[in-house]
């Protein structure tokens, strides 16, 4: 079969890390590793008594919620007290759409949010990679209405490619995995361009010599684009050197039955995508707002949202810890991936946040952020903003985008970057 049909066997994939990939496509100009941004979202608030940190550097102390981050804590910032736009508080209906857009979505039947930060980055930076961004989810989106008459679209989408279009999240690990290597749209485009090239062959045979120069111009251009697409897909599969262990088996088709397995596979895929530079932007929605996730493996039979109303209780404490553990798993994995003088984590910014503080109240955003974006951020700190005058979440977005090379005059509800980061 053609060189494009690859990768469907178990364990057949061999992804080249960023550096090798860069060399393979002759991108010598790329001297420094790329910067990446990932956002992990979970909903319905946290268990506050355990969600704390104190001090910086060697004196950094973590609350029990962050136990799983202990070993990498010097690469993490614990940012407390940031806020949404003033009125995206309370209730469950709109926080997901608010958190990376920094705006208040519109109520009622007409959907209107804003382009989210990850998609701003994807639109500006995404052209260099196979996928402009990777948008994954572990829970199905919901589309009805909340009692506050906000669409539930807002509760189940953090990524928005336009004010009216949430980006559909990929739920299936197997398909997410495939998309890294042959994004479905580029695969479709290759098939289409093959068809067009066949047609051009027919046309060329029929035209005069002078006419053919014009047709040839088109043929050459189409062929070049087709080959570019093919090459992007082939990156990482044609070398089976196997000298290191960056292999990941293609996940089985279908959906894992339990959320722990599901979320872990999604983290693996994000890590692989960053390591192999298939994309530099990822969002992973671990739960919706008003989540119906269940955690039988934690000995819990009720759903996430119900537990969130008992946020003071042990059950919700264990759920909060569970999601931080998934985040810690991703962070640890990225930190184990060598890249240049550091690790992939060092060249990334990996954020975990929740739109509520406790179930129905959002005075501040629970948020941690790992990786220094190639030294753009100091890490290993506790950053307290609760009593700061300016403490908008949008300002943090603006700062991160700036450090990634996308400097905007304004974003969401702010024109200022966050001070002190």
């Amino acid at each position: 079969m053609s060189r494009r049909v690859v990768l469907h066997g178990l364990g057949a994939s061999m992804a080249l890390p960023w550096l090798e990939s860069a060399r393979l496509c002759g991108a010598d100009a790329m001297k420094t590793p790329p910067k990446r941004f990932a956002f992990l979202f979970f909903g319905d608030g946290i268990h506050p008594p355990e969600w704390w940190s104190k001090g910086n550097g060697s004196s950094l102390e973590l609350g029990p919620a962050f136990a799983s981050l202990e070993s990498v804590k010097q690469k993490v910032n614990f940012i407390h007290g940031l806020r949404h736009p003033d009125n995206v508080v309370g209730g469950h209906a709109k926080g997901a759409a608010g958190i990376l857009t920094g705006i208040q979505p519109l109520g009622g039947r007409r959907i209107q949010a804003a382009v989210s930060m990850d998609q701003v980055l994807a639109q500006r930076l995404g052209g260099d990679t196979v996928l402009p961004s990777l948008v994954l989810g572990c829970e199905r989106p919901v589309s009805g209405f909340h009692e506050s008459s906000y669409s539930m679209m807002y509760a189940s989408h953090v990524s928005w490619s336009s004010p009216v279009s949430p980006v559909p999240a990929e739920l299936y690990p197997s398909l997410a995995f495939d998309s890294l290597f042959e994004s479905r749209s580029s695969r479709t485009h290759v098939s289409i361009l093959d068809y067009v090239l066949d047609q051009l062959k027919d046309v060329s045979a029929k035209v005069s010599h002078s006419d053919n120069a014009k047709i040839e111009e088109y043929t050459t251009s189409v062929r070049e684009i087709e080959q570019r697409l093919v090459k992007m897909q082939e990156r990482g599969v044609d070398e089976k050197s196997g000298s290191d262990s960056r292999e990941l088996n293609r996940p089985a088709d279908g959906l894992p039955n339990q959320i722990d397995e599901h979320s872990r596979l999604m983290c693996d895929i994000v890590a692989l995508a960053f390591q192999t530079d298939r994309t530099r932007i990822a969002t992973l929605l671990l739960t919706n707002n008003l989540s119906g996730q269940v955690y039988p493996f934690l000995g819990l039979n009720v759903d996430h949202h119900n537990y969130s109303h008992g946020w003071q209780n042990k059950a919700f404490a264990s759920i909060t810890r569970f999601w931080v553990e998934q985040y810690a798993y991703l962070v640890g994995k990225l930190d184990s991936m060598q890249e240049g003088d550091g690790t992939v984590l060092d060249n990334s910014c990996i954020m975990l946040a929740n739109e509520q503080w406790t179930a129905h109240s959002a005075p501040k955003i629970p948020l941690v952020m790992s990786g220094s974006l190639s030294g753009s951020f100091q890490t290993g700190q506790t950053l307290e903003y609760e009593s700061a005058k300016e403490r908008k979440m949008s300002s943090l977005c603006l700062s991160i985008m700036d450090r990634m090379g996308v400097t905007l005059p304004e974003f969401g509800n702010t024109t200022d970057q966050l001070v002190g980061i």
């Binding site: 909340h146 098939s191 047609q199 046309v203 002078s210 119906g292």
Partner: protein, 1115 residues
């Protein structure tokens, strides 16, 4: 009427007789070269080449014909005596005339020799405009995918439709691919095939928006305004013509079906009992109409009583959105179904025997609703029962709330209740007695804070000023109940009012109190049912916030609640359309699947029903959930969980009850929906493929060749096999069609030989369509081509005329005129510093750019004179432009709008009186040829002389001095500064040709507004001396000059540009005879646009092509 063949004959005759005087061996060497060497080469040689002209390059006649444009310009200078210049050695007039004649002869001889040669028309990609227009024609959606592409370069005669100019690069192909993807993202698979949404449909939100809005729009278009029906029925009663009620409805734009029902109900109303009898009395009382407009007061009574009946007799409408978390979706659907079914039903059990009157909110002291001497009234009238009608007013009170207190805490703390009696005891003790607090008129004691009234009666309760501060902000609440003990069979109307007693028995706040289980109510049943059948409480339900949502908390689901509309109002075909829209919504949003997935999530997270280990296998994301196996397993467990005993392991129950029916019915509904989705998909796929095949044919401008569809189909299969959905695969095929050279390239099918051959029918149709419409041929043109009709001049002319009179000819107006006269890029390259001109908005700019298109489109469609482009006294304006132009133009526009209410574009006349006329007085031309914050007489004049009239000038030297950037910053007027510049003879040589024309336009400021002073306040002088030595003032003088002295220049330029645009190539010497024929034909046919179009499309240049083996040397 113009006869085309005659013109072709004429052109041919011209060619024939010209051929007779053919040139000698080499006339250039014999007659021209000596002159050139003697008078010209001193300045125009390979070293000096003034004006970038090197005459030593031309050795013989073939060099001259090869550079015929250049030579046309050269002899123009000699003819006008401008060359050789004054300071150089001067030839005699005869010498110069002889040389001019020789060059003319050389050129003409060559022209005639190859007259009609189709020339080289290279294959080329579509221009961006053509691409966008073609996409609009193919999809019906105005997507404009090339909006952000880099501008197309121009070639040939200055147009972007030439093969030389339009190249392709990998980057452009990448953009094409994105553009095609964008178009494909608008494709939506529907049960009936494919359609294109006005926006990209890439997420659920857009799918829903698209299909839900279509239904809501349908409902709005078919909504029922009862007043209109009542009026129609009333007028029908007094009709003068013999018309059926259906005909009557049709005349008034109403539903015949529903008007019949209203008419029959009203006509028969007086023979009924109860409420309908009352309705009949009111109906009978409406007098005959006096005119077509006014309605008597009795008519208002009729409307009131109908509205009253709808409110009190039809089943009351409960709140249909249940936003609380515990609301059981299955039960909610059942509730919605019951509500929907009861909209036109009378239900005794919903009759009320009590009501809470919120009589007044006491205003704060000093408020204008001063309570001094203000009274409130309770009026109680007997309704449908004789005998004793007592109404108990149960503890009336003042309260901060509008509901009654539920407990003592409410009463004291929150509502701060004071009973009416406690107030009256202090303020009006006598009234306490009159009202009879505490005693029943029929005897016996009642609660001391309540009283009973007997109908008919009017109770007045004065609220004196003294009470105001105490009661400020409180509501007077009066709970009224039909006396249970004494008036079980009673029936009363209760009404409250302020200042004076209520008058109208059927006003909006009148309540009817009756016991639903009484005999009185029973006796009302029949007639009330008749009423409700005709006048339902609603015809359809669309929630203000949630649209067509089923209305349970959080779960997405749609609910159709429109039975009265479908049964009483819509025709069969309208119902079919509405059904189709609902089917479309279900299909496009996958509503059954969406509902069951949402249901699983909701029952777990909001209702906790699935908090049970047995349900742990169930995930709302699971693809298997919509398969029968898992769905049945779920239903069984769900029934068990709900305590329903099943028969063995089946879905049946031992004892069917309402709950079982509801649950099982819900799952059955899901199964039906999933099955329908599956069936619709099969049908949709088949139809969609047929649609795509048709679309491909139109995109390729011909019927597909054998095998062509097969290869598209195999691409489709490949994408499907690759796991793509039907819709995504269709999108893929569409992208392939749009990327195909058969769509995005113009290419003619060429015969092998070395001669000249006709274009194929399809190629000719395509050429014609892209010429006139910048788009693919429509079905009619393709059909004409297929029938061979384009092979005859008559057939070709017939199609051309049809297309000229079509609104799509605006593409020609926009593209040809815009590119020829250099304003098409106005919006992208506006020279104006907008900040310096308040009110210079985008809306205005867009209107400015649109104005010439509107005028030219009108001129072409109505086949006016091409000289109207120069001198038209009429134009088209919209609101923004009218305001910009001001004066009588604005007044005219306002009057038209006031007359017809249409805020769009309208024709206005009187341009000449306003100092304007034709294109040169248009804001867009004046503005495009300005410079930042000042006018530019040079640019304006050059525009007129060079672009409009075709006069050529050598490029300016590199060291021309700059004019100041603003008028404020200049020492004197631009006019005077220019005069100084032109004092230099070398500058004057060119400037004297155009400056004066530009200065004539000085009466208009940089953005084309009339002005009498420049921006520094210096008075404007637009009196000029024209190149012919005459003086003229303003644009009208300019127009007069062109019409009288330069019209031929204009026509020559127009014809040449026109031909270049039509052919998509540079004009060749061999086109000269055709150009001359065009000019001549225009002169003879009142300069009508159609003359040019018809002559060109019938010319061999347009209809033919060179064969593949054509050698230029062998011609």
């Amino acid at each position: 009427m113009l006869s085309i063949p005659r013109f072709i004959l004429l052109a041919q005759a011209f060619i024939m007789c010209s051929s007779v005087s053919s040139a000698t061996a080499d006339e250039y060497v014999d007659s021209v070269l000596p002159y050139v060497q003697k008078y010209c080469v001193e300045c125009h040689n390979s070293e000096v080449h003034k004006g970038e002209l090197d005459l030593t390059r031309y050795a013989g006649s073939t060099d001259v014909t090869a550079s015929f444009r250049r030579w046309n310009n050269i002899i123009e200078f000699v003819r006008n005596g401008e060359m050789p210049p004054e300071k150089a050695k001067q030839p005699s007039i005869n010498e110069s005339n002889a040389v001019v004649e020789s060059v003319d002869r050389i050129l003409l001889a060559e022209a005639v020799k190859h007259a009609g040669d189709p020339g080289i028309v290279l294959p080329r990609r579509l221009s961006h405009t053509e691409y966008d227009t073609a996409i609009r024609a193919l999809t019906g959606a105005d997507i404009r995918p090339t909006k952000d592409f880099p501008a197309d370069p121009a070639g040939g005669e200055g147009f972007d439709n030439t093969g030389e100019a339009l190249g392709t690069s990998p980057n452009l192909v990448r953009k094409y691919l994105s553009a095609a993807q964008l178009v494909a993202d608008h494709l939506v698979l529907q049960p009936g095939g494919i359609s294109f949404a006005p926006f990209p449909v890439t997420s659920y939100n857009e799918r829903k928006k698209l299909t839900e809005l279509a239904i809501i729009d349908f409902y709005e278009d078919h909504s029922v305004d009862i007043v209109q029906y009542l009026e129609a029925a009333w007028r029908y009663r007094y009709r003068q013509q013999e018309l059926t009620i259906e005909q009557w409805a049709l005349k008034r734009g109403l539903s015949g079906k529903y008007l019949s029902l209203v008419w029959q109900t009203l006509s028969a109303s007086s023979s009924h009992a109860g409420f309908v009898k009352e309705l009949g009395d009111v109906w009978e009382a409406v007098p005959a109409p006096v005119n077509d407009m006014s309605r008597p007061t009795e008519f208002r009574d009729l409307h009131n009583i109908v509205a009253f009946g709808q409110r009190v007799l039809c089943a009351p409408e409960p709140s249909l959105i249940k936003a609380n978390a515990g609301n059981w979706p299955i039960q909610h659907l059942d509730f919605r179904a019951k509500t929907a079914a009861a909209r036109d039903k009378f239900d005794r059990s919903s009759l009320k025997n009590e009501t809470l009157l919120n009589v007044i909110k006491v205003a704060a002291p000093g408020n204008e609703v001063e309570a001094e001497n203000l009274s409130v009234f309770i009026r109680v009238d007997p309704a449908f029962a004789d005998g004793d009608n007592y109404v108990l007013v149960k503890r009336p009170l003042f309260s901060l709330a509008t509901i009654l207190p539920r407990n003592e805490d409410d009463e004291k703390t929150h509502h701060k209740v004071q009973s009416l009696r406690s107030i009256l005891d202090r303020s009006h003790p006598e009234l306490v007695k009159t009202l009879g607090f505490g005693v029943h008129p029929a005897g016996g004691e009642i609660d001391p804070e309540s009283f009973v009234v007997k109908a008919p009666t009017v109770v007045e309760i004065p609220l004196t000023g003294g009470m105001q501060s105490e009661l400020s902000g409180k509501h007077l609440l009066m709970p009224c109940q039909l006396d249970h003990e004494h008036s079980r069979e009673g029936s009363v109307f209760v009404q409250h009012s302020v200042r004076e007693p209520g008058q109208n028995r059927f006003a909006g706040n009148v309540e009817h109190l009756i016991y639903g289980d009484s005999d009185t109510a029973m006796s009302l049943a029949d007639s009330s049912a008749v009423f409700c059948h005709a006048f339902p409480n609603r015809f359809f339900y669309v929630d203000n916030v949630r649209g067509l949502a089923a209305g349970f908390h959080l779960v997405e689901g749609f609910f159709r609640d429109d039975q009265p509309l479908t049964q009483k109002v819509l025709t069969d075909s309208e119902n079919a359309e509405l059904d189709r829209l609902w089917q479309q919504l279900d299909f496009v949003t996958q509503s059954a699947e969406t509902l069951i997935r949402g249901f699983v999530w909701f029952e777990r997270s909001e209702r906790e029903i699935l908090h049970d280990k047995r349900f742990n296998f169930l995930r709302s994301e699971d693809p298997q959930l919509v398969e029968e196996g898992l769905l049945t397993r779920f239903e069984k467990l769900y029934l068990d969980k709900m305590g329903i005993k099943r028969v063995g392991d089946t879905l049946e129950t031992e004892s069917p009850d309402q709950k079982y029916e509801m649950i099982h019915g819900f799952f059955e509904q899901i199964r039906d929906g999933l099955q329908r989705q599956h069936d619709s998909m099969e049908q949709a796929e088949e139809r969609a493929l047929a649609d795509i095949e048709r679309l491909a044919g139109r995109a390729f401008r011909r019927t597909l060749r054998p095998g062509e569809w097969q290869s598209l189909l195999s691409l489709y299969r490949k994408l499907r096999d690759d796991g793509q959905t039907v819709e995504a695969s269709l999108r893929g095929v569409l992208i392939a069609v749009l990327m195909s050279p058969e769509f995005c390239y113009h290419r003619n099918t060429r015969p092998d030989g070395n001669g000249i051959y006709p274009l194929t029918d399809n190629d000719l149709a395509s050429r014609l369509s892209f010429f006139l419409w910048s788009s693919v041929p429509d079905e009619e043109l393709l059909a004409a081509a297929a029938a061979g009709k384009l092979r005859s001049a008559d057939g070709l002319v017939a199609q051309t005329r049809r297309m000229l009179n079509d609104s799509r000819i605006d593409s020609f107006a926009r593209e040809f005129l815009g590119q020829w006269l250099r304003y098409r890029d106005f919006l992208a390259k506006d020279p104006i510093h907008a900040a310096a001109f308040p009110g210079y908005t985008n809306e205005l700019r867009e209107a400015m750019a649109e104005e010439p298109v509107r005028l030219a489109t009108y001129l072409i469609r109505t086949d006016q004179s091409v000289t109207d482009l120069l001198s038209s006294d009429m134009t088209f304006v919209n609101g923004a432009l009218a305001k910009h132009y001001g004066g009588t133009l604005e007044q005219q526009y306002r009057m038209v709008v006031a007359g017809n209410g249409d805020q769009g574009w309208h024709p206005v006349t009187g341009l000449h009186a306003a100092g304007r006329g034709g294109l040169s007085g248009m804001a867009v031309i004046l503005t495009k040829n300005s410079a930042g914050e000042r006018t530019s007489p040079v640019k304006r004049g050059f525009w007129a002389v060079h672009h409009l009239l075709g006069q050529h000038f050598p490029p300016p030297p590199a060291d021309v001095p700059e004019l100041p950037t603003t008028e404020e910053g200049a020492m004197t007027t631009i006019r005077e500064l220019l005069a100084a510049h032109v004092a230099d003879a070398q500058c004057a040589m060119c400037h004297l040709h155009f400056d004066s024309l530009g200065l004539a336009m000085e009466g208009f400021d940089p953005i084309g507004r009339v002005r009498t002073a420049d921006r520094a306040g210096r008075p404007i002088n637009n009196e000029v001396e024209l190149p012919n030595g005459k003086t003229a003032g303003g644009i009208s003088g300019l127009i007069e000059y062109i019409m009288q002295h330069r019209r031929e220049d204009f026509l020559r330029t127009l014809c040449r540009r026109f031909l270049g645009y039509a052919l998509g190539r540079s004009v060749n010497l061999s086109d000269q005879p055709l150009l001359m024929a065009m000019e001549e034909a225009l002169q003879e046919n009142e300069f009508r646009f159609s003359v040019m179009f018809e002559l060109v499309v019938c010319s061999p240049q347009f209809r033919k092509q060179r064969g593949r083996g054509f050698q230029t040397t062998t011609r």
